[in-house]
């Protein structure tokens, strides 16, 4: 494992932890952006250039901005006075710790069987990805296009301002 991997992993996990733990919602959204950026760097570390840049475009460029907009539209930018954790937060923490213990145990147990992979970096260009998208994966591509259209219309309809009902 290279030094760069540890650095990027620490950055990503710190961003994720801060996004979950900080009190102010805007700070959480900014830490989330840090976690997304770290994740994109991890993708680049894994020689998945296209996925890395798609991650930056979609998550940092769209999802993080959307989260910030939602925070500002719901007036959530001030730090709340009371507790920011729900009543059942202890049970949630226990469940999360148990899930991590199980996943970590599974990974450690399967260490001998984990493939080491090809030593050389796989030579996958954006051209290959585009060719695969319009040949072998054309049906999923169309379904995703339909899903995105439906989600766009659905989000607009849900968030659209309703007219005040006549009383």
């Amino acid at each position: 494992m290279s030094f760069a991997f540890y650095l990027i992993a620490a950055l990503t996990l710190a961003g994720g932890l801060a996004a979950v733990l900080l009190k102010n919602t805007v700070h959480c959204a900014l830490s989330l952006t840090l976690a997304f950026a770290g994740q994109a760097l991890l993708f680049l570390e894994l020689d998945a250039q296209f996925a890395g840049f798609a991650q930056i475009l979609v998550y940092i460029g769209a999802v993080a901005i959307l989260v910030v907009f939602a925070i500002l539209l719901t007036k959530g930018s001030e730090t709340p006075k009371g507790s920011v954790y729900s009543r059942h937060s202890l049970a949630g923490l226990v469940i999360a710790a148990a899930v991590f213990a199980m996943l970590g145990w599974a990974v450690i147990q399967s260490l001998p069987a984990v493939p080491r992979g090809p030593a050389s970096t796989p030579s996958v260009t954006v051209l290959d990805i585009g060719n695969a998208l319009i040949s072998r994966y054309v049906l999923p591509l169309e379904i995703v296009a339909l899903l995105l259209t439906a989600a766009l219309i659905g989000a607009v309809i849900i968030a659209m301002h309703e007219k005040e009902r006549a009383k």
């Binding site: 991997f5 996004a19 959204a29 998945a48 939602a70 729900s86 937060s89 260490l111 080491r116 989600a151």
Partner: protein
């Protein structure tokens, strides 16, 4: 350490952080943030298995991750639209305060 195992452990940790956030926070937007972190951890697993699997040139894991990113973006848009609608309806994003399904 095996490189793939390192990535899998990071993804497991990220997933647990997201799960803890989704289960413990009060604010609905922060619950969505936790869900996004969990989806990201799943994507990291897909890409790591694509890179260290036997046939990276088949592009299977990469395609799965790309479609997963698209679905996650749609999910975020609809989820945040729901949060905005709920805020307009109930004037709060506190999930503990939302205990009715009809308005």
């Amino acid at each position: 350490m095996n490189p793939l195992a390192g990535f899998l452990l990071v993804a497991a940790l990220l997933f647990s952080i997201g799960l803890a956030g989704a289960l413990t926070r009060r604010n609905a937007i922060l619950v969505l943030i936790g869900i996004e972190l969990m989806l990201n951890a799943a994507n990291l697993n897909l890409i790591a298995f694509w890179r260290y699997g036997p046939h990276p040139e088949a592009l299977t894991g990469m395609m799965f991750a790309i479609f997963s990113i698209a679905v996650a973006a749609a999910e975020a848009a609809v989820g945040l639209g729901l949060v905005i609608h709920l805020h307009r309806h109930a004037h709060t994003t506190d999930l503990d305060a939302m205990n009715r399904m009809r308005g």
